[in-house]
Subunit: 647 residues, 2 copies
């Protein structure tokens, strides 16, 4: 196809806009009404992207935005109806997704206030806490903190040092920071706006430690002054998200009533006796953390949305920016007509589509588990691992894609007015907060190794090794909701050396094989570690294998979600387009991993050497639809109305 | 080796510090005295890294820093002695390298003032310009702009639209911005401090266009007000480098004396007749641009230095940060003891060493060519391609490595006080300024295809295709200065299937094969394009192949420079350590490219499947020396004195 033909094909607005709206409607999904409301809201001046503000101005603006959201009743959607919410957790996360297309400081402030702080009160507290606080939290009258991370302990939450000691003499809990490295660190809402904190601390009663529990501690009075015994410092300027007031907290024997213990899973009686429904302390700990899973899913969605905005801006720019003349043509070449530029942007757009469907599936499952399920719902553990994996994938994708988008826009991409700098700086921390990605992928791998049985704690090396040692080799791979569809595709997959490049069954079977083979090899290696003198060393030596296994797992569940998402698309033209996007997602992923497939005899060199050309062709095929694809993301137009696209 | 043994090995300060200083001394190289001076200067409060300043504060601070550098006589080192310089271009670039360890706004302001603006006056001007301006430029009394890029034309400089029309009636040149997209864009020193601009424009005399030439145009008067006909706007906030006042310039029939034409390569007589020593206009254009090669080499060095700072900070943090307990050990594990963390940081440190030697070799060559050479020195074209390639490699390395360093430090890495956010944001534009990396790699590939013969312009597709079509297949690979040493190594290289993993000759022959094979394949594909109906389409279809070829070329010259750098290291212990670092650089590069080697039958799967384990072992081997290696970079201690390392 010549450039002129490409141009002609993409210039037709009529058919394209139909596909666009079909795409957007399919991506909008179950909570389309929430998305529509958010789009309306984004028209207001207050919610338009701003830049170049001082930290004080940013904080004031973010707070004002948050209060407007509250006034509009758009916050706490996941809270129970009787406490000011709508009892709709899926709607809540969808609203979060949409916020992420605008100012990311607001996103994080909302996440801290309603997801982490509010979520902890809701999920870890009981009726007495709900009645007392939830309505005020949902309305933004009571801002608060989620004080988990300590300076010395981030990922290793079980080792937190802050203590919460019950004193039966006064019926109070005494919260203390025993050493400077136990100060609460990076706490959102702490430096300026928060009045109440959910403090995670080692609970001590009667001289016994019961592990990490959450206690409500007032940190500021009505006038905004720190409460007695509470010391607060500001974390200072950050790479981004400067509208969020992150701070540090120290507690010097701060006394709160016993009732401030968030006691859904464990409680302390007035005499100091401790009781819990979950006897196993490790299980109790993870049950408590598990209810906060919403945070990881929200971050994954937020990262995915910010990425869509960046890719949309870069793609629109690439459609209008020209560079160099080509022989035999009049005028200069539009940069998206260059293969190298297509290669930069189109596979990232394809991956954004793939992750969109994976995220949508996660949100559906979360919504079901939290709406109908119980705390020890068997689906919960699987959901946790999946949320961890998709969070890692979506946030690393954001880091990479926003970087590429910035570079694809050259100097214009470096100007704050064109949004890419803030998208980059604001999302940068997503890969390490709400769980460091590397740690999360290890969690995924361990869940796979043990088939989601809760035999051990999150990072207990010996437990994992021993468990794996006693297991049969054929590890069971759990299937996504699309189980039957996927199996049908696999059953009719072509043979490796002759399958069509676009044979979806063959794609799925490749990803499946990749995961299965890595997992089995990993289990074999770890089994050897059971008898080793230093199991940590053996375990450590497998760490790259472990991470690769988790990555392969995530690739598979993302693909399966994509396949199911295409299957359910009602519009034939949109569906056909999505099939091509899926081809590009799969084949660019296989291209990147082709060394592994070659080494394991799954693909021949004769076949892999064709991959580059096949991916190039797919890019050329999708290139006329580039604008349609980014329009399908359904980004509110004020969010991509940047000066470089107005020229 | 157990962790305890590792710990014991790295705790010994005595022998390590000797190696450290030997490493630093070897890396300091020929212009060690300049580095020593810069280290002393960095002790001053004014030069310590700052953060959280407003744009106005940053600009004021950067300007003050620049004036102090001038007062100390540390600027314009590359200018002729008779005009206030030291006639030492190598010293000039080395000083730039050192500046890049501190505030990068200062680096870029210095680069604009002395490298681009001063460099253009020096290299494109003649004695009349030198006598009038250079001393004032070197002393910082006259700040100026390098006004090349236009809003509509960045990489494609030949297509600039600004005009400089000679008017014989008044003996003046009339400079005009014919349309808004021809405004000068992103111009450093324009928004606030610059008084004189080197404006690149299409020269017109007697109704004839002569291509792009440079003209000196005053843009502000002594009081700082824009000159008549000059319109100036501020580019506004950027992702980083906000200490540099980037702006936009429009010229409305601005008249300057004919003598303001920088007339080293071409001149206009009072009657309007045009004369030049370089008749071929394309050649003339590239000769003019070529003299500005120093900018690319400086950016490569700056990127390399900033990367070293980031890796140094992250490595030191990884040596003190603990996370999780391990079975059978007391205390928590230092994060650098985790394989995944070693895998993140150590190959990047190895690549920084490799790039250091490549950069040092470039600076040496540049110094020689510019000190002894002539404008059409045959080495110049090769130097240009090499500078373009190393600039692309060093700046992409910076983007990746600083990102990884930030993530490796978790939340602490996101705080501005720990420097990583500014290092990231400030260097981000390096990949697209002073030549977009993708465009630069195409330049490299074309130079390789034509063996540095100047048969065609920078991005003239038809010219390249036709030239290649008439050439013999066996393209000549030029060799670095280490030609003999490299050939000796290749001659005694082991066979692919049995060579030791650390066989340097085998390493070099692999890289050599990679480049040669890609280049020959590319030549074959392009040859077909000569007869095609639409050569652009054929050329475009090869763009990924073209970029891969350039990348393989850069890998080879970087490795050869590393090998030569090790060979010349006088200290046996430092040399032995560098050998291991080089092994890691090579094998982690081969690991990443192993699919290609497999597909081309150069490595077997039996061999490549071992690579991951081999790289892991190399990481474990180097891990005790991690601190030594980053200390070897010779970074002034105030530049890495960040709060998270003080705990």
């Amino acid at each position: 196809m010549t450039l002129t033909e490409l141009g002609a094909e993409r210039s037709g607005e009529g058919p394209l806009s139909t596909v666009q709206s079909a795409l957007q409607s399919h991506l909008d999904g179950r909570w389309a009404d929430v998305r529509a409301t958010a789009r309306t809201l984004s028209e207001r001046e207050l919610f338009r992207p701003a830049f170049g503000l001082s930290t004080a101005e940013q904080r004031a603006r973010t707070l004002e935005q948050l209060q407007v959201l509250c006034a509009e009743g758009l916050t706490g959607l996941g809270f129970p109806v009787r406490h000011g919410g709508q009892g709709d957790i899926g709607a809540s996360i969808t609203a979060f997704d949409m916020l992420a297309m605008g100012d990311l400081s607001l996103l994080v402030k909302v996440g801290v206030q309603f997801g982490l702080f509010g979520g902890a009160v809701l999920h870890l507290g009981t009726e007495r806490h709900h009645a007392k606080y939830l309505a005020d939290i949902a309305a933004g009258r009571l801002l608060g903190c989620f004080a988990m991370t300590e300076h010395g302990h981030g990922s290793d939450v079980a080792s937190l040092r802050t203590t919460a000691t019950y004193d039966p003499a006064t019926d109070e809990i005494v919260v203390s920071t025993p050493e400077d490295s136990a100060r609460k660190e990076y706490i959102g809402n702490a430096a300026q706006d928060g009045r109440l904190a959910v403090v995670f601390a080692q609970l001590v009663t009667d001289g016994h430690r019961h592990g990490v529990h959450a206690v409500l501690v007032p940190i500021r009075d009505e006038g905004g002054r720190p409460m007695p015994g509470v010391r607060i410092a500001d974390c200072g300027p950050k790479a981004g998200l400067n509208g969020v007031d992150n701070g540090q907290l120290w507690f010097d024997e701060v006394r709160v009533p016993r009732e401030n213990l968030l006691n859904r899973y464990a409680d302390v009686a007035p005499d100091g006796s401790y009781r819990t429904e979950i006897e196993n302390s490790t299980k109790r700990f993870f049950t408590m953390l598990g209810t906060l899973i919403q945070g990881r899913i929200s971050v994954a969605g937020g990262a995915a949305s910010a990425t869509k905005v960046a890719l949309s801006i870069a793609t629109r720019y690439a459609e209008q920016r020209t560079q160099f003349e080509a022989p035999g043509r009049t005028g200069e070449v539009v940069v998206l007509d260059y293969l190298a530029h297509q290669r930069k942007l189109l596979p990232l757009i394809a991956k954004s589509y793939a992750l969109h469907f994976a995220q949508a599936a996660l949100v559906e499952t979360l919504h079901e588990v939290f709406t109908d399920g119980t705390a020890d719902d068997p689906r919960q553990r699987e959901l946790e691992a999946r949320a961890a994996g998709v969070k890692a994938a979506a946030t690393w994708h954001a880091t990479k894609a926003i970087q590429v988008a910035r570079e694809a826009c050259g100097g214009a991409g470096y100007l704050s007015e064109n949004r890419l700098p803030d998208l980059k700086a604001d999302t940068d921390v997503f890969t390490t907060f709400e769980g460091d990605n590397t740690v999360l992928l290890q969690l995924v791998a361990k869940e796979l190794l043990t088939s989601y049985r809760d035999h051990f704690g999150e990072l207990d090396v010996l437990g994992t090794v021993r468990f794996v040692a006693n297991q049969a080799v054929g590890t069971v791979l759990e299937r996504t909701a699309a189980r039957k569809l996927i199996q049908r595709l696999i059953d009719k997959a072509g043979r490796d050396d002759e399958a069509e490049w676009t044979d979806r069954g063959w794609h799925v079977s490749l990803f499946d094989y990749h995961e299965r083979h890595l997992l089995q090899g990993l289990a074999r290696r770890l089994r050897k570690a059971a008898g080793a003198a230093d199991p940590f060393m053996v375990f450590n030596a497998c760490q790259d294998h472990l991470l690769a296994t988790a990555q392969a797992h995530v690739d598979r569940i993302v693909l399966e979600a994509f396949v199911a998402g295409i299957d359910s698309c009602p519009d034939p033209a949109a569906k056909a387009l999505l099939e091509r996007v899926c081809d590009l997602y799969v084949l660019s992923t296989v291209e990147a991993d082709r060394a592994w497939y070659l080494e394991h005899g799954r693909l021949t060199a004769a076949r892999t050497t064709q991959l580059a050309g096949v991916v190039n062709e797919l890019c050329a095929k999708l290139r006329p639809d580039a604008l349609t694809l980014v329009a399908g993301f359904g980004i509110p137009s004020p969010m991509i109305d940047v000066p470089m696209l107005r020229g």
